[in-house]
Symmetry: C2
Subunit: 451 residues, 2 copies
């Protein structure tokens, strides 16, 4: 039974906190474009009158989180006071009431700050829904009837690629063999790849020893940052290939530093390292540019991956239509939460593109595992050629701990979306008032923004 | 002489205000998507140590303006303390320092809230530059040497369509005959069309009498909102054509309400009214969708116009590449200010697409006239088939009054970008503390957001 029937489930409050971790101190997460990220998030708490809370977050890189927090505050009035029964009954309409508020819409629409804020709110509502039903989000999703699941999606602007009816039909087909797949999922988990070996800020020695570490942990697919210096890239990729060999998969990520023609030329120089995909070769808005790069690199067996900064389902639709992405990297909080992400999975499935979620950031591994497991159970029905990014950072801050073993995400049973911070984390890392931040301000490691 | 040489021109402060006008009370500005806009803006004031001020604004629709204001506050530290000489000397690098701040970039990049904030700041710097040189922005732009003008543009992500060298070459050619064109511009002004006749909230009687009014004022091109109801659209367009006849130009604007196939079908039904363009038929992010609509409507002689919500130069680049816009509607504060807009003009010129700027909003007419006059003087060299939108609202709030006569924007001589509000306007309409807002709160016309 997947619906909530208690009419008294009113949303009493919506709170949002700015939470930041000082990751730039260790150059963790550094790439060619984002040289000093402090992994952060806008953290949304939606509380029912019963006291139950749902938590959602939108990943950010430090400065600017306060703007996403302000945007959540501005959307609050559209949420507080509603009954969750009414929301879940017609989730698509509620979703549109957030994304198409007649005045606020102008400052998006459905992109950037305001869409990150929407994602935080929507994700909190899914966490809450799953908690109400006492099951993990992947289970909630895979147990929803096709009609119910599709009723959460706003199909505006994507009906030229997929209609509601087609989506229902695809999900009906996906029900076949679901039980068998559930057994497989429970016993093996879902394959992961690691990005942890090759942040740009890491030394060559670190790179090599991390490759060895993650091979020992069972990983067979590795991703390395590139794009700052061609010779350095070659040197680093040689170290990686010498360490992991040629049986393992190797992907590279340029984080948008190149122009279109430059991307092609640079990657031609790296082809000798047998690259599965080049991720974010250029602007995340350049559909036609990615399509050109994909076409040029096809003879070299290099695919194009992108999606972590793809603004919304309309942009994803075109990337898929244009052959501009061979690997679709949905992100759990860049577009408007699960509702919109489901539509991307459906379009990718229809157009035959593999989804390999982005997860380099706070809470992203925690969330995307649910989506990808749902895809296996209910939509694509296969793990073939797909894996979830895995980054070993900030997991200790969540109440329900991620379980990645033998390079596989394990299907967990705790209720919700996995997005609840521990109390200790909020006390320490709320910005700028958390105790860890106070200590760093006092030591002069960071400067206090309030002074 | 177009450069500033005084080394003491330091930016002492950057202030931003939330300014709103209660336009929804009269259904001015209402369309199929934005039913109750309160024309508003984030208003940026950059002050030099000499006391001189530059003003820039980002147009918004009411709620949500506070988020853009927060974003400007977050970018402030990148501006205050700099010397404008250094900014204008290498404006492209300064522009990139705003749009690619290594942490803030994540919440865009270059789109939505953060890009609206960038626009406000950048536009204030152009206003200031022109005021320092005691000339209007159109004159400043058209007097800059090609190399200088091009040095303001960040070519990242657009070099596959236009390079710096090509741009310089185009602008060199544009110098030929500039003096003659300046004479023509001074005597005739630049042609305008009116959107004032057909907001969706207006009655049929109002529609007809406004058509007559604007015909008397010399207008020969009219734009009407459509998309809420097909029969109503037909009725309204019949009224308009019966009033203005078939010698005048007629455009329609759907403000993004349709899906791709729906847009084609709807417009086929309106073709009998001889429509020059359908504006914003679908999502502003749907390049491939617009391209399909444009292709389908070509046999009916209906062009596609879009741009007011086009997120940045990379999106414009693709619309132009894909044949997805026959009329390029640059907006003065959606993308990152004049620097980025210049790159769009250059790409449109290269790819043979006419620019007809969007101006339905606060301060937009004031700004775009400068850009379009520069295009005539320095780039396209023609007004043929081009006009500037004209909306007769909120002009009284600006210190330097817009001069539109005989349906032509007149080239004015006051220094700056035309974006300085009167003191009285700020006292009355700053939100929520302005005197007019206080009065409306007291009367219960609006509710006070602070309560």
């Amino acid at each position: 039974m997947s619906t909530i029937t208690n009419e008294n489930l009113k949303i009493q409050s919506l709170e949002v906190k700015d939470v930041r971790f000082p990751t730039s101190l260790g150059e963790h997460g550094s790439d060619a474009m984002h040289t000093d990220p402090d992994y952060s998030c806008a953290y949304v708490t939606i509380k029912l009158s019963t006291g139950l809370e749902g938590h959602g977050l939108s990943f950010t890189l430090g400065r600017g989180t306060e703007i996403v927090v302000a945007a959540v505050e501005s959307l609050k009035h559209l949420v507080v006071g509603l009954t969750v029964v009414d929301i879940y009954k017609d989730f698509a309409s509620f979703w549109r009431s957030l994304t198409s508020e007649s005045q606020i819409r102008w400052i998006g629409p459905e992109k950037g700050v305001i869409h990150l804020a929407t994602a935080g709110i929507i994700n909190a509502l899914w966490d809450l829904w799953a908690k109400l039903l006492n099951k993990p989000v992947w289970k909630l999703l895979s147990e929803l009837e096709p009609e119910q699941l599709v009723s959460t999606i706003d199909f505006r602007y994507i009906t030229d690629v997929i209609t509601k009816e087609e989506a229902i039909e695809m999900l009906r087909k996906g029900k076949t063999g679901q039980e068998k797949r559930l057994e497989i999922l429970k016993s093996t988990g879902y394959p992961a790849y690691t990005t942890q070996v090759g942040w740009l800020g890491y030394s060559d020695e670190n790179l090599e020893s991390l490759c060895r570490k993650y091979m020992k942990l069972g990983f067979t697919a590795f991703k390395v940052k590139v794009g700052r210096d061609l010779n350095v890239d070659k040197k680093r990729l040689r170290i990686v290939r010498n360490t992991i060999g040629y049986d393992c998969k190797l992907m590279v990520d340029a984080n948008q530093v190149w122009d279109v023609n430059q991307a092609v030329k640079w990657m031609e120089q790296l082809a000798e390292f047998q690259i599965l995909w080049i991720e974010e070769p250029t602007s995340p808005d350049d559909i036609l540019g990615h399509a050109k790069i994909a076409k040029e690199l096809k003879p070299l067996n290099i695919g194009v991956a992108t999606g972590e900064m793809c603004a919304n389902r309309i942009m994803f639709k075109q990337f898929l239509q244009a052959g501009a992405m061979q690997f679709c990297q949905i992100d759990s909080c860049r577009i408007g939460g699960i509702n919109e992400i489901l539509s991307v999975y459906l379009m990718a499935h229809k157009l035959g593109v593999k989804v390999c979620p982005h997860a380099g950031g706070v809470g992203l591994c925690e969330m995307v595992q649910h989506l990808q497991m749902w895809d296996y159970l209910s939509l694509s029905g296969t793990m073939e050629g797909r894996f979830i990014e895995y980054v070993d950072q900030q997991h200790e801050h969540f109440q329900d701990r991620l379980d990645v073993r033998n390079a596989h995400y394990q299907a967990q049973q705790f209720p919700g979306y996995g997005t609840t911070f521990t109390k200790d984390t909020l006390i320490k890392y709320e910005y700028p008032c958390g105790t860890e931040w106070q200590a760093m301000f006092a030591k002069g490691i960071y400067s206090d923004p309030r002074k």
